[in-house]
């Protein structure tokens, strides 16, 4: 199932159970899997038109009235386009607004550079009160969704839209605020988020054949970062590689480096977008172009091990 469908099903279920939940779209309800919501919820599924700034502040106003609004768009328009509305109407006023940004980073594919958000986590991470969550698969999204609903405050859900391979079993348990150890290891900590996880697993096969025992940790919540989980791992392995579908400035690499620099300085190598803008292309082409493949991850591990 596509992630947008999995999300829409969860949201629909929640809206049936809780009449305070409202969903706002800005002329992207159909691509985000919510094309039929306005029929199902005529009062609570609202299309504001192409006006994301207005959508964000409307949501803040609704939250002040006791509603739980979800605002949805493609990642660049759900974040950088409305940065001040997120900062002031939502976060400074500390409103219970959930922001759903779809097609993060290279997954915007043929929509190209204008639609490719490589900076959204960096921008939002520096705004107080914001929680940032990026699921790797449907099971994780579905398991954590009720925790997001229960949490009172702003949450950014950075969400892949299309089919994504299942990583986790449907019964797997997650804590919104704890990182997830996918494989324990002793030589290097690989921290990954979002759609990069498959490349990390591919890289791990090669690493295992070279007798490199990597610990793989999924950071699904980049803010607040699970310092405890990160420190537990890097104190054991003594080095790390970060892998993210985002600029290596401001995102996962920065978050891990901040934890490391404060408590346990170690060598870190990074995989991600090296401060470049996006471009059109399918995901495999873009991964090659931005050096985000399994082989690139293996090279980064070899490099960081030499620096230990």
């Amino acid at each position: 199932m596509e992630m947008r469908q999995a999300f829409a099903l969860e949201l629909e279920k929640a809206m049936n159970e809780n009449e305070n939940i409202v969903v706002l779209n800005a002329d992207l309800a159909k691509p985000n899997g919510m094309g039929n919501f306005s029929e199902k919820f005529p009062d609570r599924a609202i299309n504001v038109g192409i006006a994301e700034q207005n959508m964000a502040s409307i949501a803040a106003g609704m939250s002040s009235y006791g509603l739980i609004p979800f605002i949805c768009s493609f990642t660049p328009f759900a974040t950088r386009r409305i940065c001040d509305q997120i900062a002031i109407s939502i976060c400074y006023a500390n409103q219970n607004v959930k922001i759903v940004g779809t097609d993060p980073g290279i997954s915007a594919e043929y929509n190209g550079g204008t639609h490719m958000s490589f900076e959204d986590i960096g921008v939002l991470r520096s705004i107080p009160n914001m929680v940032i969550f990026e699921p790797v698969d449907n099971a994780q999204l579905i398991n954590i969704f009720p925790q997001i609903l229960k949490y009172k405050g702003p949450v950014y859900i950075r969400m892949f839209r299309k089919n994504t391979p299942d990583i986790f079993d449907a019964n797997e348990k997650f804590d919104l605020f704890k990182s997830k150890v996918i494989k324990e290891g002793t030589d290097v900590s690989i921290f990954c988020s979002g759609l990069t996880i498959n490349d990390v697993l591919e890289a791990d096969k090669i690493l295992q054949s070279e007798n490199i025992n990597a610990e793989i940790i999924n950071i699904h919540t980049i803010k607040p970062i699970d310092s405890e989980g990160i420190l537990r791992s890097i104190r054991k392995t003594g080095c790390a590689v970060t892998v993210e579908n985002h600029n290596v400035i401001g995102g996962l690499r920065s978050a891990i480096a901040e934890v490391s620099a404060s408590e346990c300085p170690i060598p870190i190598e990074c995989i991600g977008i090296n401060d470049k803008f996006g471009q059109v292309g399918k995901i495999p082409y873009l991964k090659e172009t931005y050096h985000m493949t399994g082989n690139d991850i293996v090279d980064a591990v070899r490099k960081v091990l030499k620096r230990k």
Binding site: V22, D43, R44, I46, V48, G49, A51, Q53, N54, A56, S57, I58, A59, A60, G61, M62, S64, Y65, G66, L67, P69, D84, Q85, A87, I88, S89, Y92, A93, N94
Partner: protein, 278 residues
């Protein structure tokens, strides 16, 4: 109407005390909306200062958030918090910051200060009230300079498209903004035609610093029943009611106020009050 006029003088004295005690502040745009705040808080709004979070109450979003001192002056006068708090405006750790903050100040319905956003928030509140079917009225005040923000027009379009007839907005049309006159910086006229074109009821108040005229416009906006939001354009004077502020003209958006100026201003208001009382 004598009582409202007298109340306006009290509120202006509070504003002068707040800003004068600190020595600097947004006096012009605070003084220009006093009559509107008094008519809302003393006549029209369904609110309860002893229960500030009352369900289904009417709301006010002062989108021109720098008029915080005027809002605090009224809230204190209404008994939301002690008047002594007014002396803490912008002092370290205060709950009365320059710009309205719902998480700090009892009685403030929405955090504002980044212009244009509060207006959208008010639209969201009006929509939420429709969803909850609680028949609340939602009031909001925007600045004339703020009208230059694109977000205002996104929200204006939404409010009429979604028939938010529970929303009554005011434009504080005092013709001045920080850098100069509105006409010099970026003209917004014809303002009434713009709002009409966006599908709103429009009421132009010739003197927005006259309680009776403001009251009539609010009464009319409340009674009209045509599924449209309403905009009341208030022709006001920035700095209204205090001579030194009016004389400062373009300079009164935010200005230094000495103790002497504060005391002179308060005296001027007291003299006017005596005159009114006679």
């Amino acid at each position: 109407m004598l009582d409202f006029n007298s109340k306006c003088i009290e509120i202006r004295k509070n504003i002068l005390t707040e800003i004068g005690t600190l020595g600097v502040g947004h006096i012009g745009g605070s003084l220009s909306i006093v009559e509107t705040l008094v008519m809302l808080y003393y006549k029209h709004m369904n609110i309860d200062p002893t229960n500030p979070k009352k369900e289904g109450r009417d709301r006010l979003v002062v989108s021109k958030g720098h008029s915080g001192p005027a809002v605090y002056a009224v809230l204190a006068e209404k008994g939301y918090f002690p008047k002594s708090l007014l002396l803490t405006l912008n002092k370290p750790g205060t709950n009365l910051p320059s710009h309205c903050d719902m998480n700090r100040t009892v009685g403030v319905d929405m955090t504002t200060g980044s212009l244009g956003q509060g207006f959208s928030c008010a639209v969201g509140i009006a929509q939420a009230s429709k969803i909850k079917k609680d028949n609340a009225k939602i009031y909001t005040i925007i600045g004339d300079g703020e009208t230059q923000e694109g977000q205002i027009w996104e929200a204006a379009m939404y409010a009429s498209a979604h028939k938010l007839d529970n929303l009554i907005a005011f434009t504080d049309y005092n013709k001045l903004q920080l850098d100069g006159t509105v006409d010099e910086i970026c003209k917004i006229d014809p303002l009434d035609d713009k709002w009409k074109a966006f599908g709103w009821n429009v009421f132009v108040v010739e003197d927005g610093n006259d309680c009776e005229q403001v009251d009539k416009a609010i009464e009319y906006a409340k009674s009209i029943n045509n599924k449209k939001p309403s905009m009341i354009i208030l022709n006001t004077i920035k700095g209204c009611g205090v001579n030194f502020a009016i004389k400062a003209g373009k300079g009164n958006h935010s200005m230094n106020i000495s103790q002497e100026m504060m005391l002179d201003g308060i005296k001027e208001l007291e003299n006017r009050q005596k005159g009114d009382d006679n």
